[in-house]
């Protein structure tokens, strides 16, 4: 029995990947999380310039639904500074995927070109962040623009390009199709859902940016649905990576069965002891594979489509 995972041409020691934006702002948290047993890690989304992001509160938990709402707003030091963190990850041989974003084509191009000389497993294109005024969701809901950006970046590098999709869309298949036509190497679903919390005592939106994105257990049934739909339509064409609300080994299996080749995990690792979570994930997957006589992760992928 092996956890070995292939996402297109990329080999991973297991299908667990740290999702962008959680534990991903510094090389040291990325390295720590990888060393706790993940297959790869994804950086916080990196843009062309330093951004301080949105005012606080910008991340808090919604305990009753085991979820988190955030409006960090892509706070990041910009690619030219974050290069240093990536370089350390390179030196330490941490399989690193860099999430990049821009407000338009040119910015995406600038960031990619500013980082493509580094040893990067893949670039994940964040076309789907709901927490900025421009870019993000605006791009990720426009199939033309998605295709244009992906195909433009495709010409600049041999490094695999993953397109991260937003669930805040009328027809995710249309966007996925555009990403594939543009030359994407994998589809990642889903990013956070548009959400908001108002404090009834002060009558104020709680997030400093007012609006935010919902992640965590509440969105798992939504993520599963999108991965299932994507696999049904494009499973023979492109690997799909499942994200959203993974809290347990069982959830990982559910994503694999829905059609995921690998999974990304965010919110549930943003806790005091991510190491324990990762160990539990692995134990559970192993147990499941043994009980159900699976020898490889690949055999599980898409198992719910019959």
């Amino acid at each position: 029995m092996s956890f070995d995972t292939e996402v297109g041409d990329i080999q991973l020691r297991n299908p667990l990947i740290l999702a962008s934006g959680v534990l991903g702002t510094t090389y040291s948290t990325l390295q720590r999380t990888y060393e706790a047993g993940l297959g790869a890690v994804i950086t916080k989304s990196i843009g062309p310039r330093s951004r301080i992001g949105n005012p606080n509160p910008s991340v808090f938990a919604l305990q009753e639904i085991r979820s988190v709402i955030n409006s960090v707003g892509l706070a990041n030091p910009g690619y030219s500074i974050f290069r240093e963190d990536i370089q350390i990850l390179n030196e330490n041989k941490i399989p690193t995927i860099v999430s990049i974003f821009g407000e338009n084509k040119e910015e995406f191009l600038e960031v990619l070109n500013g980082l493509k000389d580094l040893s990067v497993l893949a670039f994940e294109l964040n076309l789907s962040c709901p927490n900025t005024e421009k870019g993000g969701t605006q791009i990720g809901t426009d199939p033309e623009l998605v295709k244009e950006i992906v195909s433009m970046l495709r010409k600049e590098t041999e490094i695999p390009l993953w397109v991260k999709l937003t669930p805040n869309v009328s027809n995710i298949l249309e966007i996925a199709d555009a990403a594939i036509k543009g030359g994407s190497d994998a589809l990642v679903a889903i990013n956070t859902l548009k959400a908001m919390v108002i404090d009834i005592q002060t009558k104020m939106p709680v997030l400093g940016f007012k609006r935010g994105g919902l992640s965590g257990a509440a969105i798992k049934p939504i993520g599963i649905r999108y991965v299932y739909d994507l696999y049904e339509n494009f499973g023979d064409k492109i690997p799909i990576i499942g994200v959203g609300g993974i809290y347990r080994g069982e959830d990982i299996i559910e994503y694999l069965l829905a059609g995921a080749t690998a999974v990304e995990i965010g919110t549930s690792l943003g806790v005091a002891y991510p190491e324990n979570m990762i160990r539990f994930f692995q134990m559970k997957i192993k147990k499941y594979m043994k009980e159900h006589q699976f020898n490889s992760i690949k055999e599980i992928t898409g198992g719910a489509h019959r």
Binding site: L23, S28, L62, Q201, G208
Partner: protein, 283 residues
């Protein structure tokens, strides 16, 4: 209903029931929360939401049932907005977050701090005094001038009652001896060969200096320092903006209190921090 601790949830709205000038530019607030909890541990902190303005980490100076004590030093717009709040106003509280000080038994407890670093040390003092056996507690506080000594009356009173020894100093000699707290601290460490543990909270550069002093003395069993010069967003370990290199420890959940062994591993300690953007800069 009394909870073990407060839930990690959206801000819990608490009502300001007391506001007092504690020392120059620093106010003591009592905040009444709608939920009771068993206790807050010394060194833990909350995320304080000043509605419409900002949310930021604040150490816990005291907690009983559902009354939270904090001390706020004016730094910028957020703390200023808090200081402008009135009794009856609502503020949001998330927490309790972070790993506390862990005082061992049968040692001299040396609490060293300055500025708002005194807030966790106040709760630590309270906690130590609650223990059955008499504890050997020494508090070292320093400030530029008398008006900036936080909890001066509170600590002085405990000293006068012979419950603690209060080593107090000011740069200008307006209260206590003139000089830095490290003077009395080193005196103490030289004169007392019994095992001591140091608990430090204050500006990180000061803590680094104290750390280097502590290392010289073999009777210092451990140094526990509360790192507070880090930008925080979530407070519970998700965002990683508060992390230190090269360990990847987040001060919100792996700290804010770190012990000697951990501090040795944090190369950023006293030298670097990360800005809101994640950019690393000299402290």
């Amino acid at each position: 209903m009394t909870k073990q601790t407060l839930p990690n949830d959206k801000p819990l709205m608490g009502k300001i029931i007391t506001k007092e000038l504690e020392c120059e530019d620093t106010y003591k607030f009592l905040i009444e929360l709608p939920i009771k909890a068993q206790r807050a541990l010394p060194g833990q902190f909350i995320m304080l939401w000043v509605p419409g303005v900002d949310e930021f980490p604040i150490g816990i100076a005291g907690f009983k049932e559902n009354i939270l004590e904090v001390g706020i030093a004016k730094m910028g717009p957020g703390t200023e907005a808090m200081i402008n709040k009135q009794i009856g106003d609502l503020v949001g509280v998330r927490g309790f977050y972070g790993k506390p000080f862990k005082p061992p038994q049968d040692v001299n407890h040396l609490l060293i701090g300055g500025g708002f670093g005194m807030t966790p040390l106040k709760l630590l003092t309270t906690t130590l005094l609650e223990k059955d056996s008499k504890q050997n507690i020494h508090v070292f506080e320093g400030a530029r001038t008398k008006d900036r000594l936080m909890y001066l009356d509170w600590f002085q009173d405990l000293h006068d009652k012979d419950l603690i020894t209060f080593h107090v100093c000011t740069d200008d000699g307006s209260y206590g001896y003139q000089g830095f707290p490290t003077v009395d601290l080193e005196n103490f460490l030289q004169e007392n060969q019994t095992p001591s543990v140091m608990y430090v909270a204050g500006p990180e550069k000061m803590m680094k200096a104290i750390f280097n002093i502590g290392k010289k003395y073999s009777n210092v069993m451990d140094m526990q320092m509360s790192l507070a010069d880090r930008y925080m967003r979530c407070g519970f370990g998700a965002c990683s903006y508060c992390a230190v290199d090269p360990t990847g420890w987040r001060i919100c959940v792996d700290g804010p209190v770190f012990n000697t062994e951990q501090l040795e591993q944090i190369s950023d300690f006293g030298l670097y921090k990360r800005l809101e953007s994640g950019e690393k800069v000299r402290i």
